[in-house]
Symmetry: C2
Subunit: 432 residues, 2 copies
Amino acid sequence: MPSQSPKIAFAGLGAMGYGMAAHLVRSGYAVTGFDVYQPALDRFLKEGKAASAAKTPKEAVHDADVFICMVATSVQATPLLFDAESGAVQGLKANATIIMCSTVAPAYIDELQSRLKGAGRSDLRLIDSPVSGGAGRAADGTLSIFASGAKEDVEIARVVLQCMSGKLYEIPGGLGGGSNAKMIHQVFAGIHIAMANEAMGLAAAAGLDTREVFEKLKGSEASSWMFENRVPPMLDAGLGRYSAITIIAKDVGIITQTARTHHFPLPLLATAEQLYLAALTQGWGPEDDCVLVRLYLPPSQPHLVATQAGHSSSNNNNNNPSAIHHNVTWETIRDIMIAVHMAAITEAMRFCEVVDVDVELMYDIVANAAGNSKVFGACFHGMKGMGWRVEGVEGGGEVVGRLVSLIFFFFFTPLSSCCISLFRSLFPYLTF
Amino acid sequence: MPSQSPKIAFAGLGAMGYGMAAHLVRSGYAVTGFDVYQPALDRFLKEGKAASAAKTPKEAVHDADVFICMVATSVQATPLLFDAESGAVQGLKANATIIMCSTVAPAYIDELQSRLKGAGRSDLRLIDSPVSGGAGRAADGTLSIFASGAKEDVEIARVVLQCMSGKLYEIPGGLGGGSNAKMIHQVFAGIHIAMANEAMGLAAAAGLDTREVFEKLKGSEASSWMFENRVPPMLDAGLGRYSAITIIAKDVGIITQTARTHHFPLPLLATAEQLYLAALTQGWGPEDDCVLVRLYLPPSQPHLVATQAGHSSSNNNNNNPSAIHHNVTWETIRDIMIAVHMAAITEAMRFCEVVDVDVELMYDIVANAAGNSKVFGACFHGMKGMGWRVEGVEGGGEVVGRLVSLIFFFFFTPLSSCCISLFRSLFPYLTF
């Protein structure tokens, strides 16, 4: 039980938010929950006597010291906060604290500040405080939290933030810093999730034993947190829920949109985003993001990664099986993953400098969170010393050299590469 | 001289806008110009007695029947229209017409309507009317114009729209239709400009005679309007100005952002956008968009396309010259262009259906404008009959088959392809 016990209102009892709110109740806080989904509220009431439920955001906050917003998007957050009849800002008492935990664009944090001022509520303390770590760590109170705002405001919110976090990072520079740090972290997350899917799709389509490939890659320098987390449910169906395509698609969209305003290219992340959008167009939005692997498989064999776990196949659906067997091995996929992870460091860390987040702080955040990879740990400082170029990586040139030797187009031809890849794809609108 | 002569106010005397405004003066209209760049106004005053200049948008519109907005972006348009002191909306007389010719997001047209209502100016007639054709056709009054809005409003604006246009398209469905049609057209423009640059970069880097390759491609089924328009200034410096990188980067950004809200993938256009952003990061924004070819060339040889015009070279800067000479011929580049142009049709026309613009109307627009290609004319109707799949194209499968045989990765591996391409690139932050 904390020594001081601010009363908490909590909006957004989804996969992450529910765990966070329930953990606060279990830690002794009085928490009033709000969600548009009634079953989530009913379940929340069973968490204990300190858990209560409200019918509107305004009602939820009426005696709250702290209002935590953990809805999925800024589109949901705006009416939650500012609706003229039922919005939280209408009901919050003077000098209360709003902790914005939703992942939103850094520009939205600026917008929130302006709107609070416009609503005559400059008294409210705003903390920009996105989180990372998934539903499990949310429920355990061991999230990574990236808090930014006025120093005295963060101080007031600290006890609540600490209760929810295993790692509490205070991002300097005022409001927006937290969202910028989360954004850089999600550059890694967005690329690594897609890479995990592409790696296993390639292994399955090449007729390899997918379980053996997974184990070998996991034990190699090509592994990443996302790879180890996302591949097991592809190999064995029913290993539980992770995170919906809609979530990573939304996060990545925030990043590419923000990068555009900075006139900054993120080619790998932009490619990954197109894969997420293709999955949304397929109607897979609510499914786990490891469903992305189906984009790489024949529509008739959506479970090929699972069916080929434990044995290789000489029968695959590709047009040219002989060439596959000659060429794609687990080492090929390893080299691809290492190269993509190195390129992700370049993209993310150069963008990190553009948005002015401290690079060593970012190292600490990524190395301890879902954006981590073995390449990140091994190459970060070498690449930093070379302006984020691959020259700084011992052996990096050899990996890339092996990759380049595999392809005919050793020129820089992104449009051609994209097109050729598309024409080989199983996008329903581009097949032969 | 038109039989009816509405008084016109014209904001935005840039490359396109100046020509449009000057043509209106030459056609007998009284036009009051406004621009933040004084030399443009000074020049405009010399166009004739009917040309006048104003110091603010509000002053420009004080006796105008029609206000034409041709500034570069919605960020410029908003204060121009709505500034509390000097905005045009403050000064326009009752029932006047606003013709929005700037290329803006379809969502911005909705926002304009709301803002006009919010400002108590629902009396003003709004026409969503983007244009296409470049500075030359602007000055000649032969632009393609895509007008949408309430029927009676378009009728009132018709005489002015016709004066500026060679092809006046009325897009049905009310406001936003014009911007949607322009957006679909720019999918082609954004891909074809990048493709023209990639084709000539590849030719130069492969040591081919770039002028010979250009002539052969121009005469082949691979040619496009953009290819014929953009390549000559790469071959012979000083052939005049076309269009700045900033313009196409802005247009493409509008499209990928709008496609994201529709959860629709545009992988080729997204790849092209990253090239435009890379060029902006290089500081090339104000330069012609054919400067993009430099991304494909060694930094020490930015003019390689021009220096290799008229003779091939056995000396090139690639690491593996022997492989180049064995493999890249003008026919390789032809096949790439045909494949990219086919994929562009798929992307653009499926998106056209999503935003609900009539596909046959779109055919007419593109076939007569800068988005045209020989593949477009040859393949459009066959692909339409097959749901925009390449199966509808006679010989299409063979072109793609030849391409696929060139590459090792015959799987669908966009992330790997992008990465491999990046590692071969001359992006300063990814070179070896």
